[in-house]
């Protein structure tokens, strides 16, 4: 059931109604029922996957916490009898038990993710190798028919984040299995995130919520804004993007630049629109989800961009992969050795660059089981490491030339936008060689005239479409600019009722009339659903 389908709107409308009618202590139970219904409608065969993750993570977390509690009790009870060494030996023994449990939980669930998501990728690479070593078609392995369960990358990460938090002792394990099942399956965030932390989401997910008109209408407004981004902008841009990437041979040179810009706008409107709908639905239910974006296209560097785009994924990789690798015993020893043999400056950086490499490789492959995503991830890594290394040089340059004014900041923002968009061409063409070739044509094919000779109208978009897109993008930029000074919805709320009514009703009509539906268009799946 797509967010953009009528069935989904009906589903949510019925849920809103029931949610505020049933006794409040049943609200979270209702959400669990709704989430499983939502999931079952996507395909009953997927239910087994999410259930296995829920059961195993629930049980593992409880075992880990029980062990930690027993350790605390035992040490307290025998405080005066045990020597320091005995205490340490006991703690180490218990820790290794907990470690075994968490490893089992992580390996099982990452194993499931790896099998359904990466088996065919591994087979394709193996076949490539077999072919390269002269083994004929007879030795080629056949692909497995594995369907990717809805939202598996998102719910697996969310559940494993919880498991690690319990292991670290930063949250208490959820004892009620059904409550935990809701945390893993909460339907608005199931398909494309945000990837919530148990410590944050559990604050409002299980609470009893009375109907609050302002919160409810703010939620609806955010949903509407999300649909505007998705249906009016993203799905319209998609027509152009599909035309451009569908026939790379025909659209080279300046077209690549047009594609970069179109895809940047489409992905932004699609993903942030989807998240607006998600957070909006949660808000109408009185539940607070973490923000996933902070006006990313205003970033002045790639590093800053990655702090502001898909935030919950970035912080997940940082907290659960980057930090543990960077501060593990092996890395600390490696750090010491590097500093001793390579000098402070290089030695200090090398271990961090290595852990970042792992993170960016993982980020790449998380987005999809293909080389273009891996190259995209490592491309980001390379740019980030070069900027990190050259930072002292940049600082000196900035000080020397006093580069800090508005014009320079604007230059940095545009530069970052171009860099991000250029890297994304790997994601766009879905093929590494094609991306490199197309990128090369940017400098060889001299067809800049397509930008003004009317060729743009041959992409399946009319002049009216371009007009709508221009106004739409302008609206996105204006809202983002306004957001720097606080909530836009609060500002509108402070205006007189008639004005508010016209504004929101106008937006509603815009989505209804100018959304990209009907002939030639198809309200499409969200891009991030497939990850």
């Amino acid at each position: 059931m797509l967010f953009t389908s009528y069935a989904f709107l009906g589903f949510v409308a019925v849920l809103f109604l029931l949610y505020y009618i049933v006794p409040r202590r049943w609200q979270w139970g209702l959400l669990l029922g709704a989430s499983y219904l939502f999931y079952a409608l996507a395909g009953t065969e997927y239910l087994a996957y999410i259930l296995v993750t829920t059961v195993t993570v629930y049980y593992t977390a409880l075992r880990i916490e029980r062990n930690a509690d027993r350790q605390t009790g035992y040490l307290k009870e025998h405080k005066n009898e045990l020597t320091k060494e005995e205490k340490k030996a006991y703690k180490d023994r218990q820790k290794s038990i907990r470690l075994r449990w968490i490893l089992a939980g992580l390996l099982l669930n990452l194993g499931i993710l790896a099998v359904v998501k990466y088996t065919n990728f591994a087979i394709a690479n193996l076949n490539g190798l077999l072919h390269a070593f002269g083994k004929g078609e007879s030795r080629q392995l056949s692909f497995l028919d594995l369907a990717l369960p809805l939202g598996i990358s998102f719910y697996t990460f969310q559940a494993l984040g919880y498991l690690i938090d319990v292991y670290r002792g930063t949250v208490r394990a959820q004892r009620n299995f059904f409550r935990f099942a809701l945390f893993v399956s909460f339907f608005p965030q199931l398909v494309q995130g945000p990837i919530s932390r148990f410590g944050d989401l559990s604050q409002t997910l299980y609470a009893e919520h009375a109907f609050d008109k302002k919160t409810f209408s703010f939620g609806l407004q955010r949903i509407l804004w999300g649909y505007f981004k998705k249906l009016v902008i993203a799905d319209r841009m998609l027509v152009g993007v599909n035309a451009l990437i569908g026939d790379p041979e025909a659209y080279q040179g300046a077209w690549v630049l047009v594609g970069m810009f179109f895809y940047a706008c489409e992905l932004y409107a699609d993903f942030t629109g989807g998240i607006d709908i998600t957070i909006g639905i949660a808000q109408t239910l009185g539940i607070t989800l973490q923000e996933n974006f902070e006006r990313p296209f205003f970033s002045r560097s790639l590093k800053e961009y990655w702090r502001r785009w898909h935030i919950t994924m970035g912080t997940w990789f940082r907290d659960y992969i980057f930090y543990p690798i960077s501060v593990c015993k092996f890395m600390q020893k490696f750090n010491k050795a590097c500093r001793r043999y390579l000098g402070e400056a290089v030695g200090k950086r090398l271990p961090v660059y290595l852990s970042s490499f792992v993170v960016w490789f993982a980020t790449g492959i998380w987005h999809g089981a293909s080389w273009n995503f891996i190259v995209w991830g490592l491309g980001n890594w390379a740019v980030l490491m070069v900027s990190e290394t050259l930072e002292p040089l940049y600082d000196r340059f900035h000080q020397r030339f006093g580069a800090g004014g508005k014009a320079y900041r604007l230059f940095e923002v545009v530069r970052t936008f171009l860099l991000v968009s250029a890297l994304r061409t790997f994601d766009c063409y879905r093929s590494v060689p094609v991306t490199f070739r197309m990128f090369g044509t940017l400098f060889t094919a001299r067809n800049w005239n397509i930008l003004w000779d009317g060729s743009l109208l041959g992409l399946g978009l009319s002049l009216l479409d371009y007009g709508i897109l221009a106004v739409g993008v302008l609206m996105l930029v204006s809202v983002s600019l306004l957001q720097r000074h606080g909530s836009v919805r609060e500002r509108i709320f402070a205006k007189p009722y008639p004005l508010r009514f016209v504004l929101w009703y106008g937006l509603f009509l815009t989505v209804l009339l100018m959304g990209a539906y009907g002939v030639g268009y198809d309200a499409s799946q969200f891009i991030y659903n497939q990850f």
């Binding site: 670290r168 002792g169 930063t170 590093k303 702090r307 940082r318 907290d319 980057f322 930090y323 543990p324 960077s326 501060v327 593990c328 015993k329 600390q332 750090n335 010491k336 200090k348 271990p351 961090v352 852990s355 990190e388």
Partner: protein, 72 residues
């Protein structure tokens, strides 16, 4: 304090209380900081200790080091 000053000579670590929340220290800074502290104080700051409240100020960091020294 010296380690912190080396990382960001321009920041007043005596008074700053939102080093992580205000994004003065990023993840790279935190990792280099930990490597140096672990080395100098012979303790082991692990991933579970990397919480904003432990790294938001020089004082919080000092308390974390002291706690880990006691536990060691």
């Amino acid at each position: 304090m010296e380690i912190l000053q080396d990382l960001h000579p321009d920041v007043d670590f005596e008074t700053e209380e939102h080093l992580v929340d205000d994004k003065i220290l990023d993840s790279f800074d935190i990792v280099s900081l930990i490597a140096e502290i672990n080395d100098n104080f012979d303790i082991a700051i692990t991933a579970k200790d990397i919480l904003p409240e432990n790294f938001n100020s020089a004082q919080a960091l000092y308390e974390l080091i002291r706690r880990l020294e006691e536990e060691a």
